[in-house]
């Protein structure tokens, strides 16, 4: 009963730190977006773990089941996943636009070219 | 009776997956590894699904499992074929040393 204890939260914590390190350290914009996704998924894991009840079942009502897990975190995270992919798409569109303007998606190479005017011409 | 049969099929399927997984690590190049990976996809998944089919109590669930099985039956050989073809097209050959997936694969 008490074995997993806080393990799920600790793993989520390490995943969150991994995402943070990727976002801080990486100079490649696509990798930054992947890191943001990992950061996000760590939060999802915390919420879903909070909703779990031991010996519980998925929250779909049925006569043969008496213990259900908490449906509320599921609702919040379900919508968050779809919103997450939509916002990732906005990020990717920005990356594609940066590539059109600078010819690269590496931040170091973009920094090396300060002469490009900030107004982006399509 | 059905319980024993179902469990036996599940066990066989899991063993096949295990063998495929070991092969994935032990085989020398991409095409051999693909061979063992597609065993996991077809035979392993197929046996597990067959076991679930035997164990499933209701007709509705059995029908759903059969649908999944049909989908896997058509799709996983296709994926293996597409992977092998893509590898061959991008210049990966069996006899070339060091053409395994560990080199990155993309030229």
């Amino acid at each position: 009963m008490s074995f997993p204890g806080l393990l799920n939260y600790w793993v989520a914590l390490i995943l969150l730190v991994c995402g943070l390190i990727i976002v801080m350290d990486s100079r490649n914009l696509v990798k930054k977006l992947v890191g943001l996704g990992i950061f996000q998924s760590a939060v999802f894991l915390v919420f879903i773990t909070l909703g779990k009840k031991s010996d519980g079942s998925a929250p779909i009502l049925d006569a043969s089941v008496s213990v259900y897990s908490n449906p509320l975190p599921h609702v919040l995270i379900l919508t968050a996943i779809v919103v997450g992919v939509a916002t990732t798409a906005v990020g990717l569109a920005l990356v594609a636009r940066i590539r059109r303007a600078y010819g690269t998606i590496d931040e170091d190479e973009i920094d090396d070219r300060p002469e490009v005017e900030p107004e982006i011409v399509p | 009776m059905t319980e024993i049969l179902g469990s036996l099929l599940l066990l066989l399927g899991v063993l096949t997956v295990l063998v495929g997984g070991v092969g994935l690590f032990r085989f020398p190049d991409f095409f051999c590894r693909l061979h063992s990976a597609s065993i996991v996809d077809t035979l392993g998944a197929g046996l597990v699904l067959l076991g679930m089919l035997v164990l499933s109590g209701s007709v509705v669930i059995a029908f759903k499992v059969a649908m999944i099985g049909a989908l896997i039956f058509f799709l996983s050989p296709m994926t293996a074929h597409a992977l092998a073809r893509a590898a061959l097209r991008s210049g990966m050959h069996r006899d070339k040393p060091g053409s395994g997936p560990s080199t990155g694969g993309m030229k």
Binding site: L6, L13, V30, S54, S69, P73, L78, V82, A89 | H81
Partner: protein, 327 residues
Amino acid sequence: MINVVADVGLLCLLLTVALAIVCTRSPLSLVLLSGIYSIALCTLFVILDAVDVAFTEAAVGAGISAILFFAVIRPEDEPVTAFSWPSSRAILLGLGVGVLLLAGTLDMPMYGDHLAPAHQHLALRFLGQSFEEIGIPNVVTSVLASYRGYDTLGEVVVIFTAGVAVLILQPDNKKGPAKPGDRDRFAPELMGNPVLKTVLLRMIPLVVLFGLYVQFHGDYGPGGGFQAGVILGAGVITYGLLSSATRLKRIISDKWVTLGMALGVLVYGLVGVAGLFLGANFLDYSVLGPTQTAGQHLGILLIELGVGLTVSCTMVSLYYCFKQGES
């Protein structure tokens, strides 16, 4: 017992893949690794009883987001060294944040604790009374569509806004339509492969049928508008990948797709306004039918339709925008 073993195993897999992502520099490997990460996370969600969430993660993480990433990465981005450790500055800062968060987790309830505060108030009401009030067995759907309908409306608007933002960011296509031969960069021979074409073309109707099943079965099992929208979008995009975005646009033009995005949000909002006109609160569906549960059924069906329409059209629109950016 078996749940705990699976939980620990999947957590180990997640950690391994996350560490691999930290050290990998090649964009192609990154996208593939994040697909593996999503599949592991989705299996973990099933273990944690969140079947609806797992369904969404499987459709989104392993399906749509890989397609979007593949549209943006290029072979020339591949670095010379495929592997590198992060800088010590980033690791130190990360460890600092980690220690602070670790102190925070010590107050959390244990895994599976029945007495955790989260299970005491709203969840009891939802699990105990939603069947009388709403009349559908899937509690996640009744909370999503009815109790928290206002929140879900907000989420749909966010998805719509993201779709519009990508549309604004896409390059001008006044220089002429895309070339007819545009194909996927990482799979140039996809169209010429007879096996793929034969199997996948026959699969697309099945995928669309499955999407519709998920849409309308969401009241009784895992599923609903969000998942169905992503699956339908993926089915349509498969045709685009198989032939070309230009040929797909001849079947479903981008004007219709944009219209569908807006129409879904409009349907959702109008259902709410209809409640107002019939003398109830915004998004209160009880007055839409002769009895309370009949009204709730009708309302949930309509707003799930709106959600499905917006999500599927947004996914197809995203695909069109990224294909446009390539040419």
